[in-house]
């Protein structure tokens, strides 16, 4: 008993070294659960040991728990501000999320330990992700000076050459080290050269067959290209061997499993994948827009795709989000991989939260830009053209300038054209990606306005030759990039200067206006005056609490219908899309004897939320009234597909629309469907007799 007591007394003293060795050994032996337990015990036993925190952080980072790793590295830095490995670990976590803080952390690591070549390699990666090739090569060379065979630095050199379509002597130096090819593949992928990326991931797994991260990424990218069978094999291989905790592998596999719940509709130019539950309702609207966009872009970009465009529509936002994991930038609503577009379904978000048709037009512009330039287009340009296209054909689509963009303009945070790409990849402030989308779009609007729409196509053609942005600006616009920036900012000031200048006043005023509008004794005239002042300052603001809708209500309070109609018209013109407000506007237009204008107002909502039953009911009714039977049929077909409460009514209206087109058989079938739901539905009985040639009804 005494010996036991002695041994127990020694345990706490020996525990750290023994546990760390055991944790490391278990980690090397791929026994990750046991290693994790060891690290946890060690962290508990030695809460003040920064080195243990760093090592545990490295373990958790490798095992796909970046948040835990980040906390451990930060805790280590708090205890030991001179811990270079902790800074390097933190830099890696930041870099994986494309955070703008990665470089700063890597610099700090090098400041403490100038021979930490992995930090130079990381800086090289960050620079190349920002398309800063010079910076990437400099950092890679620093790493190679310390460690001549550093594989990531070697791969960075090779990637720079390969991205420029040059043969690279550095490739041979990678040899059979799969990590090097994996690094190259990463750069092809983030430059949207997915097929090249796939080829290099294949090289990586050929060189190092147990490089499971490369198997996983190979699977993810095969899936992006619609090669689901091959993708599944690679993802399953990674999952079964190593990647059970990796969200990208696990969720991609889960997503592939859900594909059985999708219906695929194919034409010679389109492939549309929709969830079975909403396929029949969404199909007409999506196919219509896909065909419209193809015709539009074929003409505009003078380019005919050699293969169909595939659009995948996800009702579950998390399924869509799987498609964008590991990619820089926002990709919040849609993403394009070569000719495959993945996007949120209108049902994936709160009704009216996003304009799906605008998103589709944006993404399909990418398809053309990527194909047209053989994937050599820089990020800012393809995003800029895509944003430009959202409103180029239909000005009341697209997203309007938001308060955070106004703030960025005010704070002079727009980037020069030569460096705008980094705003997408490594944002330095939370809204920078959104601001960069806006800025790139505004630059393309400016180019189209000043040099003509065709100039965008000329620029795209030059990008095909893998020419940098500054050269293309000089060649095509005959202007120095700095001069372009100056002129562009002057144009921004012309458009938004008033909003920026009075932004504080507007913010305060909008709050006051909304508060006043809630007072029962508020004077309509006063509300109207204040609302119009605010509209003049920031005409693009159509979100919650906007001045147009307050003004419209004030007009109605003074029983001035025309005044209300004018306010709603301004709201719609500036892309306002609150369904209840637009429906009310359409009702007023119809009551004012303008059913055609009411149709236009309501039809806009189809491109926002085609799953709105009430919308189809109202719009279908209007089309019947104005004798536009084909469009009435489209609306009632969508309504029937949504399984409304009033199924009989929907089938009956559809029967009416078919009958109006002279399609008696279809009309009879729908009348029967209505009567099956409600056998004594008299109008449907009359219609059935009429289209069946029975009875006396006419």
């Amino acid at each position: 008993m005494k010996r036991c007591g002695l041994l127990l007394g020694l345990v706490p003293f020996l525990l750290p070294a023994q546990s760390l060795q055991r944790a490391e050994a278990l980690w090397r032996a791929h026994d990750y659960v046991a290693a994790s337990n060891e690290f946890d015990a060690l962290l508990k036993a030695q809460p003040d040991n920064a080195n243990i925190k760093v090592r545990a952080g490295q373990f958790y980072f490798e095992r796909y728990y970046p948040d835990d790793a980040s906390k451990l590295f930060q805790a280590a830095i708090a205890m030991d501000p001179k811990n270079a490995q902790a800074y390097l670990g933190l830099a890696r976590v930041y870099e994986e999320n494309f955070s703008g803080k990665a470089k700063e952390a890597a610099d700090k690591a090098l400041e403490i330990d100038p021979k930490l070549y992995e930090a130079d390699e990381l800086k090289a990666r960050i620079a190349l992700e920002d398309d800063d090739q010079k910076g990437a090569i400099e950092a890679a060379d620093k790493a190679l000076a310390i460690k001549p065979d550093a594989v990531v630095a070697t791969a960075i050199h090779a990637a720079v050459d390969l991205l420029a379509d040059k043969e690279s002597p550095w490739l041979a130096k990678i040899g059979n080290r799969g990590v090097g090819y994996e690094t190259i593949a990463h750069f092809f992928v983030i430059n949207r050269r997915y097929e090249d990326g796939i080829a290099y991931y294949k090289k990586a797994v050929a060189a190092t067959p147990d490089l499971w991260s490369a198997h996983s990424q190979l699977g993810v990218n095969l899936m992006r290209m619609g090669r689901d069978g091959e993708a599944y094999k690679e993802l399953e291989l990674a999952y079964n061997n190593d990647h059970t905790s990796d969200a990208s592998t696990r969720n991609s596999l889960k997503l592939l499993d859900t594909f059985k719940d999708y219906k695929t509709f194919e034409t010679s130019t389109t492939i549309l994948k929709l969830d079975k539950k909403e396929a029949d309702a969404l199909r007409p609207y999506f196919e219509d827009q896909m065909k419209f966009n193809i015709a539009l872009y074929e003409k505009k970009y003078q380019y005919k795709l050699k293969e169909p465009v595939q659009v995948e529509v996800y009702p579950n936002h998390e399924d869509f989000a799987v498609r964008t994991l590991g990619l820089p930038g926002l990709g919040a609503l849609g993403v394009t991989f070569d000719t495959v577009v993945a996007m949120d379904s209108p049902s994936g978000r709160k009704p009216g939260e996003f304009h799906w048709a605008s998103t589709l037009r944006h993404e399909m512009s990418h398809v053309y830009m990527l194909k047209l330039t053989n994937d050599r287009v820089p990020r800012w340009f393809t995003e800029g053209v895509a944003v430009h296209e959202e409103t180029a054909t239909t000005p009341d689509w697209g997203d309007r300038i938001t308060p955070e963009i106004i703030t960025a303009i005010r704070d002079k945070k727009l980037l020069p054209v030569a460096g705008i790409d980094r705003g997408f990849v490594h944002p330095e402030f939370p809204a920078q990606v959104i601001v960069s989308y806006f800025e790139a779009g505004a630059m393309c609007d400016y180019i189209a306005g000043r040099w003509g729409e065709l100039k965008l196509l000329d620029m795209a053609h030059e990008f095909t030759k893998n020419v940098p942005t500054v050269t293309v600006i000089r060649d095509q616009l005959k202007i120095e990039p700095e001069a372009f920036d100056k002129d562009f900012l002057a144009d921004i000031d012309k458009q938004y200067g008033n909003t920026v200048k009075h932004f504080e006043e507007w913010t305060k005023g909008l709050g006051e206006l909304n508060k006043l509008s809630r007072q029962p004794d508020a004077k309509p005239e006063e509300l109207l005056t204040k609302a119009r002042e605010l509209e003049a300052i920031y005409p693009d603001y159509v979100e919650l609490g906007n001045a147009y809708l307050v003004a419209a209500k004030a007009c109605l309070a003074k029983e001035d219908k025309q005044c209300a109609l004018d306010e709603y018209a301004k709201y719609a013109k500036h892309s306002g899309r609150d369904a209840e407000a637009i429906k009310f506007y359409a009702k007023m237009l119809d009551e004012a004897g303008k059913p055609k204008e009411a149709e236009v107002a309501l039809d806009r909502l189809n491109w926002v939320n085609p799953l709105d039953q009430d919308l189809h009911q109202k719009l279908g009714g209007l089309y019947l009234k104005t004798h536009d039977a084909p469009l009435a049929a489209r609306e009632f077909q969508a309504l029937v597909a949504l399984h409304p409460i009033d199924a009989a009514g929907a089938h009956y209206n559809l029967a009416m629309a078919f009958n109006a087109q002279g399609q008696k058989d279809k009309a009879r079938e729908e009348a029967l469907n209505a009567l099956e739901a409600a056998p004594n539905f008299k109008p449907a009985q009359k219609l059935l007799l009429e289209v069946s040639g029975d009875g006396t009804s006419k």
Binding site: I645, D646, A647, A648, L675, A678, Q685
Partner: protein, 273 residues
């Protein structure tokens, strides 16, 4: 028909409940027969004393063949044992409510409790001949409900009349409100905090809440009695065929139902002549 809008607590709820009660009152008065009696309590009037007095008065006047409909809008609470409907002043408990309703001789009673925690009232109100609809599954669903809003919408929206007989029954209104409530939570990407309940669908179908159009018109012409009988016969055949649908060859079903529906339409046309 009695509608009670309880205590709102906050101005917003107070206004909302009163608005719903006003709408219900208006719809029920315009959408019923001359023999329908509609009473509505709202705001400061919806006290326990007034509601009790009204139910006692109904108990003294109603006959066995009468139909009683009680609709409750507002907040409710459930302490694990007893449900309470929040009213200005003292609340009324589920047991007290059951006592009052039990004294009413009407053998067909419908209680639509649309408050939070309303599922907690069901055990107390259980009785033969009484149909209970609640906005929540049990007394533990305590968030303010949206069911009432869609129930009232059902009473005024012809789309709720799914069988197109120009009558919105309690069953149709329930389905309408339930579907819209589900859609509300789904659209808002929120976890549903209420799950409406109805125990007996068949009985609920027999409670006409709102009539419109020519639904009340009765065919009194003796010359048409044969046609009416024939119509009922066809309706029965349609119901029987629908019952068999899942067991039948789809083409056979389609052919047979089409023939019956066409025959029904022709018969109706002759009746309407």
């Amino acid at each position: 028909m009695v509608t009670v809008a309880g205590l709102g607590g906050e101005t917003d709820y107070e206004q909302r409940f009163t608005l719903l009660a006003n709408d219900t009152d208006k719809i029920l008065k315009s959408g019923g027969g001359a023999d329908r009696v509609v009473e509505t309590f709202k705001g400061a009037d919806s006290t326990k004393a007034k509601v009790t007095a009204a139910l006692n008065q109904i108990a003294s006047q109603a006959k066995a063949q009468d139909v009683l409909v009680l609709m409750m809008i507002g907040h409710g609470t459930f302490d694990g044992t007893e449900y309470k409907f929040n009213l200005p002043g003292p609340d009324i408990s589920g047991t007290e409510l059951a006592g009052l309703l039990n004294r009413i001789p009407a053998t067909r009673q419908l209680v639509v409790d649309m408050t939070s925690a309303s599922g907690g009232v069901t055990p107390a109100l259980k009785k033969d001949g009484r149909t209970v609809i609640t906005a929540t599954k049990n007394g533990m669903e305590k968030n303010a409900t949206v069911f009432a809003r869609f129930w009232v919408e059902a009473l005024r929206d012809p789309a709720a009349d799914t069988d197109k007989n120009e009558i919105v029954s309690a069953l149709e209104a329930f389905h309408y409100a339930q579907t819209k409530t589900d859609a509300f939570f789904k659209d808002q990407k929120r976890l549903a905090t209420e799950h409406a309940q109805l125990e007996d669908q068949t009985k609920a179908a027999a409670f006409p809440l709102v009539r419109y159009g020519s639904a009340a018109a009765v065919v009194n012409d003796p010359a048409k009695r044969d046609l009416v009988s024939k119509k009922e016969e066809i309706e029965n055949k349609i119901d029987a065929l629908k019952f068999e649908k899942d067991l039948m060859n789809p083409e056979d079903y389609k052919r047979q139902i089409a023939a019956l529906l066409l025959e029904l339409a022709k018969t109706q046309e002759l009746i309407d002549k």
